[in-house]
Amino acid sequence: MSENKGEIKKMMIILSKATLENVYAAFVLANGARMEGIEAEMFFTFFGLEAVHKKKMNSLHIATVGNPAMHIPTLVGGLPGMEALATTMMKKEMAKIDMPEVSEFLEILADSGVRMWACKLAMDMFHFKKEDLFEGVEEVITVGDFYKKSEGEGVHMLFI
């Protein structure tokens, strides 16, 4: 067996959620990998597909219920308009630190060489078509295909 001394060569990032904080975490990790010269691929599955759905990507929300870091009571978090309010506040803060909107971030990722795939099972479940998705998504593939693409030394997989 060859020894690679733990060097990370490729990050395979699976995004299964559509809450803004999770989507941004996945994007920053993928972009950060490319910035360090590490290859990166993303697999969008279940609700994560919304992050690459043309009509939905720019209206994602952060979660105000079931998110203890929000520091508001669950009942208050569930009131109408709370998610929108919290999202607006977070977006303002993100603009200050030069964080792009989801659609622009996707362009940056594609231009940086991040390869993107959509999960076939989830696409079928939500009745999404390939044309509904951001152009940077190369193909709709199965879990098996994704594992195949993850073969090799120094490849790490991350589930968000």
């Binding site: 950060g32 030069d98 940056i108």
Partner: protein, 102 residues
């Protein structure tokens, strides 16, 4: 630490980034590029000049900002400096590694 390159002594950190931009000149830039397996073309120099100007004006650098600079788009930036473009370009330009996640 000290390092001798292109016949001159420069100061670098443990990652090889120069710690004193005043020590930098074009021949050092050329030599640092060779070390990083980049052969500099006029296009590379346009970008190096741009990031040095931004550094002198104390503007923090990020991939997004480079993409919006009008000097180069992100795709070409990755083509010109294939491995870790922002890191490599700043290293050759003799300025500190940008502390940016985007």
């Amino acid at each position: 630490m000290e390092k001798v390159i292109a016949g001159k002594t420069i100061h670098v950190n443990e990652e090889g980034f120069m710690t004193d931009f005043k020590e930098w000149d074009n021949t050092i830039g050329e030599a640092l590029a060779v070390e990083n397996e980049i052969s500099l073309t006029p296009r590379h120099w346009e970008i190096l000049n741009y990031i040095q100007t931004e550094y002198k004006n104390e503007v923090p650098l990020s991939i997004r900002k480079i993409g919006k600079s009008g000097v180069v788009d992100i795709k070409e930036f990755y083509q010109l400096f294939p491995k870790a473009p922002l890191k490599t370009a700043t290293k050759i330009a003799g300025i500190p590694k940008p502390a940016s996640c985007i």
